[in-house]
Symmetry: C2
């Protein structure tokens, strides 16, 4: 049941690039707040967030007009406005599926709880892992996936399962009502319309670094002949 809200004064069409930066601003603002800073200019906040100040102002202007000319932005107020826009003023129940090394790291990551994300369910298929207690939660068997997700009203799932199992698990969580997925498995997931998937691929990041690293060292090493050697040697 998708209820379309009326087009109010606030522009609901926030650019994706802006959305991706709001969490960065939010973190910078929290750091400033801890230091007791009350107001901050776009210049200062932009420096703290590592972006251009004009970009910061334009990003914030998409949320509304929350600054004071000649002064800047009130830190606490801006924190609240960004949090609300991102949906962090409400609690989100999150399930983690797959509790290998990575899943455990995610389950114990403090950065989630402090931002309105509550780990509500941990699920795994391995009998050796089921029953473990991690961060005060017991790992359930994946057979209970549908039940747990429904009971806890979970709409966000984190997948830290092997690549071979990812699509199957994805299908199951979607069928259970999950509409947002954070995928750590190195596969392209197929999902129905209306379901969001974000992918984090650790090895891709390293490969991008390697590309630039190679450039600094003077471009791709050899030319054509290397390929023949490479396939020959196998």
């Amino acid at each position: 049941m998708t209820r379309r809200s009326t087009l109010g004064a606030r522009n609901r069409g926030i650019p994706e690039a802006t959305v991706a930066r709001l969490p960065v601003y939010l973190r910078a603002l929290h750091t400033l707040a801890e230091r007791g800073v009350v107001t901050v200019s776009s210049e200062e906040l932009a420096a703290a967030a590592g972006v251009n100040s004009a970009k910061l102002r334009k990003d914030l202007s998409h949320l509304g007009s929350y600054g004071t000319r000649g002064v800047g932005y009130e830190v606490q107020y801006l924190v609240y406005q960004i949090s609300r826009e991102l949906g962090l003023t409400q609690d989100w129940s999150v399930a983690i599926v797959g509790l290998g090394n990575l899943g455990r790291a995610l389950a114990g990551y403090g950065g989630f709880a402090s931002r309105g994300f509550r780990m509500s369910a941990l699920l795994d298929a391995d009998p050796a892992i089921v029953g473990d207690r991690i961060n005060g939660l017991t790992v359930e068997h994946i057979d209970k996936l549908e039940q747990v997700i429904t009971d806890c009203g979970i709409s966000i799932a984190v997948l830290a399962v092997p690549a071979s199992a990812a699509q199957a698990v994805c299908d199951r969580v979607v069928a259970s009502g999950v509409t947002s997925i954070l995928n750590f498995a190195p596969v392209v997931l197929t999902v129905p319309d209306g379901v969001d998937v974000r992918k984090v691929d650790l090895s891709i990041e390293l490969q991008i670094l390697a590309f630039h690293e190679q450039r600094k060292a003077g471009g791709p090493g050899g030319v054509e002949q290397e390929y023949l050697e490479a396939v020959d040697g196998s």
Copy 2:
């Protein structure tokens, strides 16, 4: 009449957006190769990688003209060309600094070794962790950072340390000769020109999902009054 310029067939200015997708294509190609597929069309490969086929072709055209019209691309050959462009035909020594939950997960991640990345050094400041053996490597004390990085010829470092320590560790690895950094700490790192930093922030991804999730549910919950309640309650 699009005669290639004197710059040679290969264009060295590959767009950043393309570079970011090459690893995705590479993974799809590996999957196809395992299945014994010999040639693949841009349409098929694009579907496997989850992108538009025109985009795929344009991306590949930046590397050179490696397809055959009417047939497609030879899988093995394309794997080699992309690997070479990304710099994966050589081995890269990588150091991981910080071996908490996340660092351990990264050290044990199989996706690295299979792509030319060799974990050469594990470093941590915690005496309780130093000396542990992870994946056949012993965790060294961070005091040896400079020595280890120099000796192993490490140019890529992965930072999985607490936010409070990140900048200091960053400065040290850079001073030791590292020119590429993969940062998992939730801070904006400052580095000299010529050093590349890529940031992976787990909580940011969840926040972006929350934003879209909230939209599906019907836009930001309340308006002005909520803020007053929120600050009042502190």
